[in-house]
């Protein structure tokens, strides 16, 4: 086998042309997914069956099926439905970019809601009671006591999901988008050099992951100021 090291280096700039799209998909679906996750988590812990039951079903479906299948259903399946083509949703769904964002958001929202719930459950009950005894309302207790502590507890698992989401963006190359993975596939089909190109791609993903890990480490340290070793 001929292995061309120079191709690894020379293909990186080409792949980086897809970086913008990868980052857009990652950041937009990450932010929307987090908002969705907060909503789902609040429904889950509401204690009211008509809120937590739908949230649980939603989480079960989106955690229980491959994201690739979800992506295909959104991209290939939903446009078949007439009322979707006629609704405002069509603005999003007629573009593969919108389909990608939607699939990634719905998927990550399900996972992150469980991560956040874990954080909330991890906050000692006595702290909420102390807040209640001081006359703080339920909402005040949740915002000023539960949330900051739950965030700290959820950071390690959440950073895992953020990195996982970044890698999942590569799946949108299957619905014609030219993110870094999409570009890699085009180059491979032209050069017949899958090893070199995909190794370059791996290097780029690893660099992004490294930066993300560093950022979360800083965030975690900041949120842990009160924990004295």
């Amino acid at each position: 086998m001929n292995f061309d090291f120079s191709l690894i280096i020379s293909s990186i700039p080409l792949l980086l042309e897809g970086l913008g799209l990868t980052i857009q998909l990652w950041v937009i679906s990450g932010v929307l997914g987090l908002l969705l996750a907060i909503g789902l988590m609040l429904m889950r812990i509401s204690g009211k069956w008509f809120l937590y039951a739908p949230a649980m079903i939603y989480i079960y479906i989106f955690r229980g099926t491959p994201i690739l299948v979800q992506l295909f259903i959104i991209y290939h399946g939903l446009p078949q439905v007439e009322f979707i083509r006629e609704s405002f949703l069509w603005v999003v769904l007629r573009e593969p970019f919108g389909c990608g964002i939607l699939a990634l958001t719905l998927n990550t929202g399900a996972y992150v809601s469980e991560i956040l719930r874990g954080g909330v459950i991890g906050v000692p009950k006595g702290l909420g009671e102390a807040g209640a005894a001081l006359g703080l309302s339920k909402v005040q207790r949740f915002i000023y006591i539960t949330t900051p502590l739950a965030v700290r507890l959820a950071i390690p698992a959440y950073s895992n999901d953020v990195i996982s989401l970044m890698k999942s963006t590569a799946l949108v190359s299957t619905i014609t988008l030219l993110d870094m993975m999409g570009i890699a596939r085009v180059i491979v089909s032209e050069t017949y050099a899958p090893y070199e190109i995909f190794i370059s791609l791996m290097i780029i993903y690893l660099v992004i992951t490294w930066a993300t890990q560093k950022a979360f480490a800083v965030f975690e340290r900041r949120m842990s100021r009160h924990i004295i070793q």
Binding site: A133, L134, L136, I227
Partner: protein, 252 residues
């Protein structure tokens, strides 16, 4: 025998209060009145319902039947009344329950700022005054995890005082402390009692009960078995269950 009856109007009154946890009856027909400025110590074996009783007074637990009236407010499902009551009633917990992500002074400022909308400077000034009162102003900008247990519990007392409560509830405030730290907390509580605070303390510190309490209440199996002045309670307990309990805790 009931000292509170000589007072014009009780600040806390419980009438025929029952409390269940599932099938288990934690409180059985509890009747108790507390006059303004009265200091009550509640003791009894673990599982006797003492903590449940005082947790019902600020509705951390909801009673199932009977009436509880605190400072003129009857405790019902109405949220407005509960918040009003909780502002009047301070509570100190066994495990301190300081907010770990806030500094000491921030722990004291949180409720006045959120609930009473006190300005930041004013809240801080008031908090510092209270920290001086519990003798740890120098710890103001540390986090709770940097303090000893005794210091944390004194901060917890100061935090409860921040809302200027008319009544203070203490739920085994020294039970989680190392022995050498118990006194510093009891001293602060004794100071409070001398200032005329209405207090209900669940505690096994019998020395504290003897020197500070007006009334000692003994509970067992969800009932109030006996209540009396400390002198009578310790020297001349009426009930068999009280005698057994005192024998056990005073035998060492």
């Amino acid at each position: 025998m009931n000292l509170a009856n000589t007072e014009p109007k009780p600040v806390i009154s419980l009438q025929d209060v029952d409390k269940y946890f599932g099938e288990f009856q934690a409180l059985k027909k509890i009747n108790l009145t507390v006059a303004k400025g009265e200091r009550i110590v509640i003791c009894g074996p673990s599982g006797s319902g003492k903590s449940t009783l005082i947790r019902c007074i600020n509705r951390l637990e909801e009673h199932n039947s009977g009436t509880i009236i605190v400072d003129g407010h009857e405790l019902t499902d109405q949220v407005k009344d509960i918040d009003a009551v909780r502002r009047e009633v301070g509570m100190v917990f066994q495990n301190f329950n300081l907010f770990p992500h806030l500094t000491i002074v921030e722990n004291l400022m949180l409720a006045p700022r959120l609930v009473r909308k006190t300005a930041k400077d004013e809240a801080r000034k008031h908090a510092m005054k209270l920290l001086e009162r519990v003798r740890i102003p120098e710890q103001a900008d540390k986090f709770p995890s940097q303090l000893s247990g005794g210091q944390q519990q004194r901060v917890a007392i100061a935090r409860a005082l921040c809302m200027n409560p008319a009544i203070m509830l203490f739920d085994e405030p020294t039970s989680a402390l190392d022995p050498e730290m118990i006194n510093e907390v009891l001293e602060v509580m004794t100071d409070l009692a001398k200032e005329g605070m209405t207090m209900i303390c669940v505690t096994h510190e019998m020395g504290f009960a003897r020197s500070v309490a007006d009334t000692v209440v003994f509970m067992d199996a969800g009932e109030i078995v006996e209540r009396n002045t400390p002198e009578e309670f310790f020297s001349n307990p009426q009930q068999q269950r009280t005698q057994n309990f005192l024998k056990q805790i005073l035998s060492h």
